[in-house]
Structures are given as C-alpha cells and as structure tokens.
Symmetry: none
Subunit: 195 residues, 4 copies
Amino acid sequence: MSTPKSPGRPRNPAIRAAVLDAARELLAAGGLPAVTIEALAARAGVSRPTIYRHWPNSAAVAMEAFVSATLPSGPPKPTGAPLTDLAAHLRKLAQAFASPTGRSAAALLAASQGETELTKAFRNHFIMTARHEGRRLLTLAAAQGQLRPRLDLELTLDLIYGPLYFRLLMGHAELSKSFTDRLLQLALAGIAPRP
Amino acid sequence: MSTPKSPGRPRNPAIRAAVLDAARELLAAGGLPAVTIEALAARAGVSRPTIYRHWPNSAAVAMEAFVSATLPSGPPKPTGAPLTDLAAHLRKLAQAFASPTGRSAAALLAASQGETELTKAFRNHFIMTARHEGRRLLTLAAAQGQLRPRLDLELTLDLIYGPLYFRLLMGHAELSKSFTDRLLQLALAGIAPRP
Amino acid sequence: MSTPKSPGRPRNPAIRAAVLDAARELLAAGGLPAVTIEALAARAGVSRPTIYRHWPNSAAVAMEAFVSATLPSGPPKPTGAPLTDLAAHLRKLAQAFASPTGRSAAALLAASQGETELTKAFRNHFIMTARHEGRRLLTLAAAQGQLRPRLDLELTLDLIYGPLYFRLLMGHAELSKSFTDRLLQLALAGIAPRP
Amino acid sequence: MSTPKSPGRPRNPAIRAAVLDAARELLAAGGLPAVTIEALAARAGVSRPTIYRHWPNSAAVAMEAFVSATLPSGPPKPTGAPLTDLAAHLRKLAQAFASPTGRSAAALLAASQGETELTKAFRNHFIMTARHEGRRLLTLAAAQGQLRPRLDLELTLDLIYGPLYFRLLMGHAELSKSFTDRLLQLALAGIAPRP
DNA sequence: CGGTAAACGAGACGGTACGTCGTGTCTTTGA
DNA sequence: TCAAAGACACGACGTACCGTCTCGTTTACCG
C-alpha cells in the first residue's frame, strides 16, 4: 500500500553498504578530496552510474558515510552531577574530533556551500547530536541551581562548544588534555573580576 | 642590506594585482570552487603558467585575495575603554564574515587539509591579525583591572573568538548584530550564578 | 568464436572517421607538425580525452590517417606482363609520394624514433603493403623466367624500392615521372657492362 | 674591409662550441626531440636568449652539430681497384649510420620541412660528402671500362645508396655485414637473366 | 681613459600543446 | 527494471617549451 512494490529488479542493498564502507576508508586515508566517485566505484566494486543512482554526488556519499561513522558509543555513565558529566562529555568530544576522520568533518561542512537538504541533515546529525547532550546537561544543571538564572541556552552552548571546534579546526594552539576542563571552568566563572 | 636586487627581468607588479582582483570577483560570485586557475587567467588577462609562477595553486590565490579583502579599514577610534573597543572590534569582525566573501572563508579554512605552509600563512594573516587586536585590548583591560587577575589569555581569546568562528563555519545559527555583544557579556560574567 | 562482443557502450565509429578526416586535412594543410591533438579535437568536434581513448598520441593518428590516405585505389589492371605491371606500380607509388601528404610521410617515418609498436605498425601498413605487391609481381616474373634464377628476393626489393624512398626522404633529386621507369630498367640490366 | 669590425663586445667563441657539444650529447641520448633550446641552454651553461642570438631555432643547432659530427675519418687506402674501394666505402658508411647519432640524421632530414638554406647545407654536407666519394669511384671504374657505357651516374648512385639508407631508416630487414657487398654485386649484375 | 655598443645571464611573460583526471550523462548487454 | 561496463563531452589540472622581452652586468673598441 505505502510502497506499491515497484516492478523490475530490486536494488541490491549490499551496494549501499559497500559504497559507504569505501567512503569511510577513503575519508580516513585522504580526507574529503579523496572521496571521488571514481575511487568509490573502484574500491566498492561498483560501477559509477550505479552510485549516481543512489546518491546525487560524492559529497552526499561522504556525508552519509561520516554520519554513520562518528560517535557510535553511547554517553558515559552519569555521575549525578551535571557539570561533571558535561566536562566528561567535552573531553570525549575533543578526543573524537582529533581523529583524521574528525578533521575531515570540517571540510565536509565548509565544502557544502549553500543550504541544501543534505547540509542541514548533516549539521543536525553531526553537530546537534553532541549539542543535544550538552543542552540536556545544562538544563539539568540549571534546574539544580548551578547556573545563572535566565541564561540564553544557545549562546551558552556556543560559548562552550565554539572554542573547542575552533582549536580543532584551526590548530593554532595545543589541544591539551586539560583544555576542555579549563575551558568549562573559565566559562563558568567568567573573565570579569568578582565584584 | 635589504633586498639585494635579484637578477633577471623583474616581475610585473600589475599581474599580481590583476589576478587578485579577479580572484576577489570570482570569490564573491561563485565562492571558492569558482576560483580556478583557468578562470583567473581568463579574467585577469594573464597566461596560466604566469599564475603558477606566482602561486602554487588556486587555493593560494584565493587565500591571498581573501586576506587582502578583509579588514581593509583600520581599527575604529579607541574610546579609551578597552572592553568597549573590544565589543566594537568583534562587531566589525562578525560583519566581515557575514558578507558573501566571508562565507567562502569557511570553505577556505576547511579546504586546507593538513599543515601546509599555506594553512599556516592563512591562519597567521587571517585569524591572528584579528586575534592580535583582541589580545592588545584584553591586555589593556587587564592593566586597568577590568579583568580577573591571572587570566589565561590564549584561553580567553578562544572563549571570545571561538563561538564567532564556530557560527561562521557551522552556520547553525544567525550571526545577528547583537550576537557579539551578548557573547562578550556572557563571557565576562560567566555562566555560573553569582556567589 | 570471433570477437566475444565486449560489454559496455560500444565505440562510436563515426568518431574514428571524423578524427582521421581531420588528420588528413591537417596533414595536407600544415604537414605533420600541424597534427596536434588539440587541433584534431577542435576540427573533428570531439573531446581530447576521447582521442586519447582511441590513439596513444598524435603521431599514431597521423600514421593511421596517412595509411588510409595513400594507395586507396586498387592495383591497376594487370596486363599479363609482370614487369610491365611492376613499372606501373612503381609509377603510382612515386606519384603518391610526390603529393604534399606524401612529403609528410618522410617526417612521419623519421619522427618515429626507435622500435615502438607504432613504427612497426606503420612500416607494416605503409611500406609492406607496397612491398607485398612488388614481391608478388617479382615472383610472377621469376616464374615466367624473366628474372635471373636464385635471386635474393628481399635484396631485389630493396634495390627497387630503396632508391625511391631515398629520393623521397632526402629530396636531393626530383621524383620525375620517368624516374621509376629508368630505375627499374637499370636494376634489370645491371650497371656492369654486358659480358 | 669586408667585415668592418662591428663595435661592442665581441661574441664569445666558446659559446658556439659548448652549445654544439651539448647538442651532440643530446642527439646521441634522446634523438632529435631531445634537442630543445631549454636543454641546450642548461647543458651548455648558457642562457636561452644567447642561443637565439647564434641560431634561429633548435633544428639549426642540431643540424650544425650533426654536420660536424659525422664522417670525420678520411677514406680508406685505395687498393687501385675502384669497385673494391667502393665496396669498402659502402661498408664503412653502413657502419657509421648504424650508430644512434646516425639514426637521428633521418629525423633531422625529414623534420626540416621546406627548402631552407640550412636544409640544403645539411644535405650537401651530409649526403653529398659520401655521394661524392661514390661518384669519384664510379667515374674511375667507368674510365677503366668496368661499367656499362653511357650510364646515368646520379641514378646509379641512387641505386647503390638508396637501398642502404632505406634499410637503415626503416629497419625492416637485417643489416648484415655482407649486405653492402651483396647489394653492390646485384646492382652490377642486374636482376634480369643473362641473355 | 672614459663613453658607448654589443654580448651575455637571468628570469618574466604570453602562448600553445601536452597528457591526465574527475565529472555527470549516455547507451549497450546481461541478469 | 536494475546493474555492469564503458564511451563520451566537458572542464580543469599542472607541466613543458617556445620565442620574445626587459633588466643588470661585463667586455671590448674607439674617440
């Protein structure tokens, strides 16, 4: 009823998987510019036109491959203290994005000029997944009175996540292990002197 | 002393200018992917080999063009209050990024995979120029007792610039006019409740 | 049996023809140096990569074009007298070489340095085709007792064709109409005095 | 009187020599296509414009280099029998042109399209030097009654030299040591049966 | 003996062509 | 109908030489 059972030979579901596997390997090896339709086809043992039948272009393949590759592990065990959990979350995030695959995420984001459906989907999956966890923990902390009242939550999230992504992408400064901890602490206390 | 005047026919300085002009136009029109050597040569009225004599690839041209396109105006008149000046500086930076050319800066940043000479040069020119002004103003503010003592200056700079670049690169939220003001205010006060 | 019908889209036979036509025109107009891949592509209305799919380089195209340009007409009607037929064959060959296209054959022959596949192919097609006819006629003449017995056939062929190609390549003397006749006559009689 | 002693710095004669040496090396190594102005300049330690000051193009350099490289040794000692001397002369010639440098002579000849001054000079020097020796010996033989009377000398020369150059350039058959001897013998006797 | 004229090295420059790579579309054959 | 294989037009790549040019420097001769 919903899918009226299209006639003819059905699509081989193994193809999607093979192409996405190839994309992940290529991403890890050579970053986004290495993910060409040509290379995907060769590595997946699939013809180029077949790939075009499944995705509109190579960026779409890369995005889908990336989405299904990052952050597969669940959140760490909550300790009950939201800000402690947030610190752990940030540490884990920094670690994940320090990987070569993580580096190419930036390229993917920036390379997708304009506001296509895919860009949005990717952003949702990729940034918002982490951001959602952060938002949950901040809301929890606010409820326990550990945050200033009437805080702009989105701005706060940017204040915390921004510097992290910034250092990762720019590489202008070391990303020491204590970085996220010190960052969170500074964000909490503020840079103005105590009155 | 100085440059010992290299032998041979001197380079025609008009060529650099013409190519960079062409690059700026192409950047504005079609973003980074439009900046091809072919298009540059055609638009600047210069042969392709000549462009390769001046830059190693199209990304290098785009970077240089972008660098010389942003922040062309000098710093605004100082008001004497460093934090006020900082707020103005951030507003201006955000405005530069909101331009169509600014959008392609994201692509440029992310496209430069790895630690090439160009990445570093671009980072120095493009990020560090702004960052240097920020550092100057923060140091001034600290001297006037408007900042918490013994602040980690680099971390503080990331706390302020990070969210700005983050929104630029991700595009998950507007770069509204009030954004930098609210950001600076939040960073100053911190997100923890006042004791 | 035969060709097992290769998979994939079949080659467009019109392309070969168009490129070879273009090559012949270019050969006639500007000689071998005019036969560039670029010019071929432009004149044949075909993309450059496509030409490379069919031939390894411009010399190969020129050779094939030349091969199919010379000796297009079949052998003249045999008169029954092999040596008379041979004289006619040589006259025709000399005439073909005297054409502007014929001039570039020299360049083609000499330009192919070393023993590449192409050199051999060209030699087979271009020289051996004529030589084969000569061999046929000489064998016939020998059978009729018009040649000295136990003649080294290959040496004899060189004795006849050599001077012809020599004048073509060197250009030190005219390829006059009577040249081949006088040449054949001299070869037959020998230069030593009759005993 | 003739040369009114031009003013300015005189040309450095060492340059001509250095460039011609370089040309000979390049000819031997890679044939005519290796003789580029660029390579000549690099190898001779001379600037490109300087080469253009001395020769109009690379072919001119190659020709001059080739001319001064071949057949430097004098003729072998005459035995008194002209036809024996001719056989020795042909053997030596075949040997000289079997060298890599000899191979490129063909390319040079064919590459020089049209009838420039240089082509003629080259032909004179290169072919006619050998041909002149052949003509001398044939004339001598004729005077001694060893040749048929009223022979077309130029045609006879082609009959002898043609097959030799032909095999050298085409390589369609072995160039055995006995080749020139058998060739001369066949030319003398003719291919027609003795009456 | 100092001025002038050419030779020379170095390298920039506009051209032209090279051979390659990747794209996205298409046309076959076979499953 | 899907999939494979491969042909094709297109566009850009980065490189190699070409022949010309503009410099600054060097080396002769000639007034």
